[in-house]
């Protein structure tokens, strides 16, 4: 406790409300500001809160509580970053596409960012919110120690109802990103869509490859 450990302090409903209010205030400040970087203040606040909840092992449960407090229905398990953005940003000024883009960037930062690097610096270093690397990797954890992941890309070979152009270069670029991710995680798995671009590895049963097998 003296060293700042706080896992024994529960998060009361009032505390949850106070946290949501704080994020809403950050959002309002973004709206009032003309600084193009103002959004990073809001994203940092969301990021810090979810990372802290995750550290306590309660990110999803608390995201559910936040949704409940703000009277949002959640039929499936919520993604904590997206849930907090939904709860605290004005829906009239934020569309679903931007919301999911931000939550994707924050998930990426939660995976790759060093603890002492400011979120803004990290995102900028990766090329920004909308065009950067953060936005390219879409992750969703599945069992198996939480390491294997499904990959959904806007440049998938046969994207249903997609207007995105799927070029060979796009796939190669994304394959490099996914491979970097796989190697960083200890070299677990590369989905079939990218297997043909990286070569030199044994192909798995489903067409994907395991980088370090």
């Amino acid at each position: 406790m003296h060293n700042g450990e706080a896992t024994t302090i529960p998060l009361s409903t009032e505390a949850m409300r106070a946290n949501l209010l704080r994020l809403e205030r950050e959002w309002e400040m973004v709206q009032e500001s003309r600084d193009r970087d103002a959004i990073y203040g809001y994203l940092t606040a969301v990021f810090e809160l979810v990372v802290c909840w995750a550290k306590e092992g309660k990110a999803v449960r608390r995201a559910c509580r936040a949704l409940y407090l703000r009277r949002h229905n959640s039929e499936r398990e919520p993604e904590p970053f997206a849930a907090l953005i939904l709860c605290t940003a004005d829906r009239g000024k934020l569309d679903d596409r931007m919301s999911s883009k931000w939550s994707r960037v924050l998930r990426y930062a939660a995976e790759f960012k060093d603890l002492d690097e400011p979120l803004r610096d990290f995102i900028k270093r990766k090329g920004g919110i909308t065009r950067g690397r953060c936005d390219k990797v879409r992750m969703m954890y599945v069992p198996e120690d939480g390491v294997k992941f499904l990959y959904q890309s806007k440049f998938r070979p046969n994207p249903p109802n997609s207007t995105q152009t799927c070029t060979e270069q796009n796939l190669k670029n994304e394959a490099a990103i996914v491979r970097e991710y796989c190697e960083w995680r200890g070299g677990e798995y590369l989905p079939p869509a990218f297997a043909r671009h990286v070569g030199g590895h044994p192909v798995d049963d489903d067409g994907g490859i395991r980088i370090k097998d």
Binding site: M1, N3, G4, A6, L11, E14, C52, L115
Partner: protein, 81 residues
Amino acid sequence: MDKILQEIADEAYEVARLRRNGVQPTRDRVFAEVLAELEANGDAMRFVNSKGRIAWKATPRLRDYLKDLELEAEEDLEDEF
């Protein structure tokens, strides 16, 4: 815990210790109660520090409030002279 919260928690502990109602609260317990109360009031927030541990800091709201108080006090002091 940052400096602002440390001061508030220390003060709360001293108050609890001097209450003399026969119960000697532990420091950790008083700190936990104070932090929970501050968080519920929107004055404290938990975060993951650079060592990957959960720590506490004052919220921007509390910082702004204290800063305003400080500026007011400085202005009052200037008016005195």
